[in-house]
């Protein structure tokens, strides 16, 4: 039994930041370099206002000094300013670059982790999580985290260093003015925190809404033929509008939060500056400080202006980083329910005997399979029939361990498939899916999807064996012809045959055909089966089909209903049984008059 996985997005927020920071810590060299250069950048940045102030005083000292001396001093402080500006630039560049680079490395690392995780997560997870959602997380949320690291992490260190050192400097220069010039910091900090919290929850909400929106768009485009055939444009646009209006409301709310706080922080900063001017002015008038010293304070404040403006952006990056990180980590933290068990060994195939022993299974606590037992010997074929939803595909999915049975055992040559490595199992077993996925690639790349090292000849043989060769060789680009997404440019039967070709190219020991010829005409199917028989006498096969001619010749036929095998035996035995299989057979073999079907119906 598998539990429905719930993706929670709100993992602990502080935990999210810590994890991101931990990832950043792995880039030790860059990080150390970044932090060192931050001190350089902040130091030179703070030196500039001091130099500016002192040069104002120098210029004003005209009355008390020789002119030549003034000019020398001015040259000296000019050169110092030039040097410190250049150094500031270089250090700023250096720390910004380390920030960028760390962020991109984290983005890269997350991308790989995410990719790997998705490949490991079992079918049951994938069927519950919308692909649009996964794609949004993989693109937008990774970008969100990376952007947070790029623009916010090192910068906040910089800001702390800048304001911290600045605090010390201004306070030691003049206590009162110092306090005044920094008076905006607590207020700005408060607003920034408030904004960050508000934005974070709104980013959560917005990402959710955007996920819904992308679901709507993704399904619309994926099901475009249905949309067209029902002329449901208005219906679909309604869905779109609803989702996008909801997103818009949140986005507008975000804009409101941002504008409010950005402008509040701005005015608090400017108010502090005005107060410095006022109080400082008074001090200049009563002679306790020089104009130069006042200039230092004002210049200090104007240097803070850019970082304060940056604060708004950083707050946003922080909020988005937390929201995106939470969404991302919730996927990365899911443990797959299908994994190699401890001490699993490689599957060793001696003969290829597949056994189901009292297998029970349910998708969500229901009873989909109720004690299924059967055995397939090498070279033998087992056929499975049964009404829709009886559990045929479910049986097929248990063999390569796309799902695990809740009780009972499945063995191959005596080895429980739970105790062998997934990789070796899935190399030995291939399921031709009922609705197979084709990739946007050329025909040969699709056929060779499971083994991209395959020779041309192998691909050709697989195509011949599935009766596709003739069709492909008539195409202008032959095997290089591109096929559209999910195989749209192929007919239903062609798509199914390509998917068979893809599986037989792998030459698996055990192969399961899940209704994989329903759109292939019986004549073609017959030829495919003959071809397959020749190349694989010792293969173990299961054929699931609604068309009895496909499995009439099977060594054993299982009739499944409601997850139970209710009839079993070879064709002749089942016909003699005169049970449900026999009814199906009568319906299919010679449906010549209405009376017969009436009769069958009445019999049931």
């Amino acid at each position: 039994m598998t539990l429905k996985p719930k993706i929670t997005n709100r993992t602990q927020i502080s935990g999210t930041y810590i994890r991101i920071i931990k990832m950043a810590l792995k880039q030790k060299l860059l990080l150390v370099f970044g932090v060192i250069t931050i001190f350089g950048a902040a130091g030179f940045q703070l030196w500039i206002p001091i130099l500016l102030g002192s040069s104002v005083d120098i210029a004003m000292d005209v009355f008390s000094a020789e002119n030549a001396d003034v000019s020398d001093q001015l040259i000296f402080s000019g050169v110092l300013l030039l040097i410190s500006s250049i150094m500031r630039g270089i250090f700023t560049m250096a720390y910004n670059y380390s920030g960028e680079s760390i962020g991109q490395h984290i983005g890269y690392e997350l991308r790989l982790l995410y990719y790997q995780k998705l490949q490991k997560l079992s079918f049951s997870y994938h069927s519950h999580i919308h692909t649009g959602d996964l794609i949004t997380r993989g693109i937008l949320d990774i970008e969100g985290v990376s952007m947070f690291v790029r623009t916010a992490v090192l910068r906040s260190i910089y800001l702390v260093v800048l304001i911290g050192t600045g605090t010390y400097l201004v306070l030691s220069a003049d206590l009162v003015l110092g306090i005044i010039s920094l008076s905006f910091v607590p207020f700005a900090g408060w607003r920034a925190t408030a904004a960050r919290l508000q934005l974070r929850s709104s980013w959560f909400a917005l990402q959710e809404k955007l996920s819904i929106l992308s679901k709507v768009m993704d399904e619309n485009l994926g099901g475009i033929r249905v949309v067209r055939s029902f002329a449901s444009k208005t219906h679909e646009m309604d869905k779109f509008d609803r989702a996008s209006e909801e997103a818009l409301t949140i986005a507008n709310n975000q804009v409101q939060i941002k504008s409010k706080n950005v402008s509040l922080i701005g005015i608090s900063f400017l108010t502090a500056m005005g107060l410095v001017l006022w109080v400082g002015g008074l001090k200049v008038i009563n002679g306790s400080i020089t104009i130069g010293e006042l200039t230092t304070f004002l210049a200090f404040m104007s240097i803070l202006q850019a970082p304060v403006r940056m604060l708004g952006m950083m707050v946003n990056a922080f909020a988005r980083g937390a929201a995106s990180g939470g969404r991302l980590f919730s996927v990365l933290d899911m443990s797959s329910d299908i994994e190699d068990s401890q001490g699993s060994t490689k599957l060793t195939i001696t003969k290829g005997v597949l056994k189901f022993k009292e297998v029970h299974f349910g998708y969500e606590g229901e009873h989909t399979l109720n004690g299924v037992t059967f055995e397939v010997k090498p070279g033998h074929v087992v056929g499975i029939v049964g009404p829709p939803g009886s559990g045929k595909s479910t049986i097929a999915h248990l063999i390569p361990r796309f799902y695990d049975p809740s009780s009972g055992a499945i063995t191959i040559d005596g080895q429980n498939i739970k105790d062998v490595t997934l990789d070796s199992l899935r190399h030995a077993v291939s399921v031709v899916e009922q609705d197979s996925f084709m990739f946007t690639a050329s025909i040969d790349h699709n056929v060779a999807y499971g083994n991209p090292w395959a020779e041309d000849l192998d691909v050709e043989t697989a195509a011949r064996n599935t009766q596709m060769y003739q069709y492909i060789s008539r195409l202008p680009n032959k095997f290089s012809t591109m096929i559209g997404e999910r195989g749209v440019s192929l007919s239903g039967g062609q798509r199914q045959r390509l998917s068979i070709a893809r599986s037989i190219l792998l030459n698996p020991k055990i192969i399961i055909f899940d209704d994989s010829t329903s759109s292939v005409d019986a004549a073609t199917e017959q030829k495919i089966r003959v071809a397959l028989q020749e190349i694989s006498r010792d293969r173990t096969s299961i054929i699931i089909s609604h068309r009895l001619s496909s499995l009439m010749h099977a060594d054993e036929i299982l009739f499944i209903e409601k997850g139970k095998i209710i009839e079993r035996g070879n064709h002749n035995k089942l016909i003699n049984n005169n049970g449900k299989y026999a009814e199906l057979y009568k319906l299919q073999i010679r449906p010549d008059d209405k009376n017969k079907s009436e009769k069958i119906k009445n019999e049931r």
Binding site: A231, A454, S519
Partner: protein
Amino acid sequence: MNVEDSTPGSIPPKASIRRSSTISEDIFGSAYDHKVVKRFTGYLSPYRKLIIFSMLTVLLFSVTAVLLPLIVKYTIDSALVAGVENTKILTICVTLFFTTIALNFVGNYLQELIIGRIGERVLIQLRRSMFEHLQRVSLSFMDKTQVGSMMSRLQGDVGALQEFLHTITVGVGDIILILGVVLTLFFLDWRLALMMIGVVPALLLIRVIWLPFARKAFIRSRVTASIVSGSLAENINGIRAVQGLTREKVNYSLFDILAHDNLAAQNKAARFGVIMMPIVDTLTGIALAVIIFGGGLLVSKGNLEVGVMVAFMLYVQRFFDPIRQLTMHYSIFQRAMAAGERIFEVIDVPIEVKNKPNAVTLKNIDGSIEFKNVTFGYVPDEPILTNISFKVEPGETVALVGPTGSGKTSITSLTHRFYDVWEGEVFVGGKNVKDVTQSSLSQQVGMVLQEPFLFTGTVIENIRYVNVDCPLSEVVEAAKAVGAHNFICQLPDGYDSMLEQRGGNISLGQRQLLSFARAIVANTKILILDEATASVDSYTEMLIQDALSKLLKGRTGMVIAHRLATIRSADRIIVLQDGKIIETGTHDELVTTNGLYSHMYSLNYSSFDDIPDDLIKEVTREWREGIT
């Protein structure tokens, strides 16, 4: 060589590393593209008044920002300098200062709010136009287009524009600020101003050299990013095939290559971005040095007020900060232009199949379908159907049979005018499908597609689909008719049970039944069933047929199937091979007129096309010869 003994990182020969699609993925141009900007402004025009107003707020914000140092200057010169100390003037100046910052606050708040909101609106509008256009473009275009690549335009590119809108507010403000600063500087002291502006040509020169390199780096970083996204999306969509065919390792190493490329490209772009920092700072330093030296000398000679010098120092920051910002924003601008181009490219996809200007609504039709000498194909010069002519009378049910790839589905697509024919005409209800509106055509022709597709949502939502007002009783009746009622009732929430994406949590046969029920609820005059029961067992199918024959009385049907049982119930049978009609007639007719069908019938094959090829050839020849 096998998957297992592959060295990680080596690219296998038969694996695509880059994906291609109809419209190229990699359009990346300049930071300013006139066409894009013009189209874009089209979307802004409804908000003209608001935009003018917001520009005023930007102006207010920038002008007040420029005024502040000026006020500081006056304060120093008229209230603080030795000799003129005056507390009163100081108070006045400070009051002025506070008034100005109050205005600055208002400007700041309004500009962020209004432009932010307009921006969000416009983005939604853009996305909507794109999406709406995709609802109308022909299927021949959609066939060749990856959903993922469209999604990346609908999301990623719209997102890139959003970033752009955020920065453009700042950008416009910055430009006004720079202009304001320059004006003020000249007003204060033209000599110092000239000295300071003197460094600007150097900056421009450096930018001219920097630009081509930087652009290349930025473009590369965008292209690689979009390739990475595409590859991720494809892996997610095809994850079952990936796991089933154990392709994980190969894909992972391919993806690693792409992601690594992207990392390298982004790092390079970042280097080009940050290199401007020391350059701009050096120039700032030069300007500062010039002011201190030149200005200081002037002050010391009494030729310049100290306040002016202080003001200049404050202005230097205001002047160079935006310049540095504008350089940073370059990549955002350029990305926006590329994004805009990709968006408008979608909006500009020509619609091949569209309503004629005088198209009529198809109403109260008799339900006939007629093909007259129709020739059609998907690829130029490769006809799939050649010279097809047949007529389905109102109320009649016709079966289309033939081997795989013979063109059956294509005929149904043409009936619904998913594509336009090359030659000949298709009539529905006596009207050429080209002369009627597409939506009215859809209301007359219902289809059960070969590939069942369900939406995420409840069972009942899926059956109702467009007919949201359809009463529950009709939904249940339809579900019963297709034999879906029983299994729906067994689902946890019955008709309100949630279906996952594409109906992934029910079996394929069940999906087929639901999509069948959906077509019945649509209640159309014509119903096309394209292997609607292929994934259903014969017994269930028989029950469906019985129920349907009552439900669909008086409607026209076109049925595609491989099973004789399905075909037999049709009034007439059309036999198709290689895109040609080789035989047609009622069941009884065909049985007696010694043709292909009678051969097949007497041979007792369980499926129509369960006939050896040579026999078909032989019979076809006999039959053709019989005609001529």
